[in-house]
Amino acid sequence: MADTSMTITLKVWRQKDRTSPGQFVTYTMPNISPDMSFLEMLDLLNLELVRKGEDAIAFDHDCREGICGSCSLYINGRAHGPLRGVTACQLHMRSFKDGDTIVVEPWRAKPFPVIKDLVVDRSAFDRIMTAGGFISVRTGGAPDANTIPIPKPVADEAFDAAACIGCGACVAACKNSSAMLFVAAKVSHLALLPQGYPERKARVEAMVAQMDEEGFGSCTNTYACEAECPKQISVSHIARLNREYLRAKMIEEKSGPVDCAG
């Protein structure tokens, strides 16, 4: 609404591909409206670059509503930018001031290699999910949905964990590049629900093992992940993961490999 347009200087990480070295390139953007979203500002920059025949800045995005988890920008030293509980795609330029210099970097972590510019490969998360982030139930065989009542507080807490959008900001912000919050969110979601009980031992073991194999760091409880998580997933889920893991290691349970149904 306000026609108080701003001039912004952007320092953006440019990297041709996975193996090339990258560097920062500086762009000056006059006429930025405070009502623009951060990604719209990048769109605008890209339009200009393309008009000049230059390579557009690559960045992941899709829903632009803060739910798909695609956007992944480290903005001025913060995952998803300065606001709490907000993804980069929902960040608007009114959070910045005229004359600001904004440094934009990709997520930095060994298990998240850069594909191009600001785009990183987060398939490690999928592999962790594949290792055990599910309940083994075949299509068709489910009992009536109201067969198992679940106390509302429990269901709500499971939901809080399930709200994770898999964006990887937790890894990006963690000084150890630990994926604990992401993994904990899934483990916690399924461990809280009665449907998830039968496989809880195998699940937590398999997911942690895969997490380690992917090369994420170990958690030292700095809680930066919770602070930067756009869905504000609580680190109490990490505590639950730890408990589940200890329980799995200490209690001998008759639970098959993660998949018993085949």
Binding site: P34, C68, S70, A142
Partner: protein
Amino acid sequence: MALNARIPDGPIQQKWDNHRFTMKLVNPANKRKYHIIVVGTGLAGSSAAASLAELGYNVTALCYHESPRRAHSIAAQGGINAPKNYPNDGDSIWRLFYDTVKGGDYRAREANVYRLAQVSNNIIDQCVAQGVPFAREYGGLLDNRSFGGAQVSRTFYARGQTGQQLLLGAYSALCRQIGLGNVRFFDRREMLDLVVIDGKARGIIARNMVNGKFEAYVGDAVILATGGYGNVFFLSTNAKMSNATATWRAHKRGAFFGNPCFTQIHPTCIPVSSDHQSKLTLMSESLRNSGRIWVPKKPGDRRHPNDIPEHERDYYLERLYPSFGNLVPRDVASRRAKEMCDTGHGVGPTGLAVYLDFSDTIKRLGKQWVVEKYGNLFDMYQQITGENAYEQPMRIYPAVHYTMGGLWVDYNLMSTIPGLFVLGEANFSDHGANRLGASALMQGLADGYFIIPYTIGDYLASNTFPKVDETHAAFRDAERELTAMTEKLISIKGKRPVDEIHKHLGKIMWDKCGMARNAGGLKEALKEIPKLHEEFWHNVMIPGSADAFNQELEKAHRVADFLELAELMCYDALHREESCGGHFREEYQTDEGEAKRNDAKFSYVAAWEFKGVGTPEKLHKEPLVFEYVKPTQRSYK
């Protein structure tokens, strides 16, 4: 070619059961030998891939996203319908069937809709078993809400993130099958062509979006679950990458396109604020349960909404539709909002918005109640507009949201190309001319979990599949054509970025083939679009190279297809000389401004056959017969 919808015989309640019995089964030991390619892993695709793999088929799944969990389905907010009748308010399979046929303004296939209603209850069971955390009541049982104009509470929801939770459920089932080795999954792959051999769909060519290489995937059947094409309008509530390429290229290979002009405009979106706007954000329809829609009575009233006294406000939906009020179906609510703005009552800086006011609810139930119910939506609204909707009304305006049209499929969800199945929003679907709230998720999952696993078996068991591999001439040719097309795109090196042309197309479509259409405008659009199409192929600028990660090139392929599809949409809209559901032709309306159908002439599905770029497409009609729900003028008075 005559269209055969393959609707089974018998009374509607028994069609699906009978059909399941008469369909051929694949011997369990042989299932492994059949190779199925699933393109798209949103709700429809993930559920299909997982279910087929569980049955023992050899499945390859791919999507252009980085992970199945990022599919556009993730964004669905409101909920999913099922007539469980847990609230004991008189719901039944029959009522859901009836509501959906009526809501679709009698342009859907009865048999499909009935089956959809039938299997929808199983979806809820399935999702709960997977751990989807639906909302619950204090007693621990599932909660329901009424949604999108339904008069019963049949919508299951997970806060404002139902699509996310359902997709994560389907994704987890898919992950499990990937882990077991039953599904091979490829991310960042965009299907750019369908390969048809001896009249049967036998594979696809996809571009590896990381290194730019074309890859051939060979199978015995191909499933497209690639979502809708609302982004033809550039601005829509769809995710930015949603596109029509997979379906459009299949269309060019022979699959008919059904009802392309049926698009849904959602009434409650955040209005456009500037030219730089890249997409529109939906504010869940559930808000209409608690908010009241109004505009100032005086045209051009620029006062702050809180300064406009009660008697100078026009709660026009409550006035026009006393019994449904603010809960009229989407098409009606959208059109009325447009009408208010067209007559100068619009609000906000652009005059293209109406108010959605929560002050009454806040007064009655307290702010805390609203926070609990809609807090995340209010936050999102504030994030985008910078306004606090607890203190002043929200501004909303309709936006393109969903496409009822899509590839034509028969009762088995098979397109006119044998072996090409189409699921979810990508098919022309069960929603007729207008989709009711909370029914797209239902349809996508019904298709994927409960329909395709049966019907594809029948196709596989009834056909023989000579061995082919990627060296087959058809794959080679398709790859060669794609290489040529891509090189052509890159080599144009014109002046206009893809987005700019896309925006231009979107404006033409929104103005002339949007919420309200008329013959004059459509004819103009049909002149403008080919010109823009022509310009695209001569003046688009795509930097970078073809053999690398190149988002501009990705967009160019998609927009090339949108330009062709847009033309077909206008043809379809022009030929359908009636108003029905989301298709509102200004020439055909009742005295009260409601959509006026012409059942005598247009009670059919328009299925279009591609005849070459620049050549008009051929229209085929699938007559619609309404045996159970007799068409009447929809009334929400």
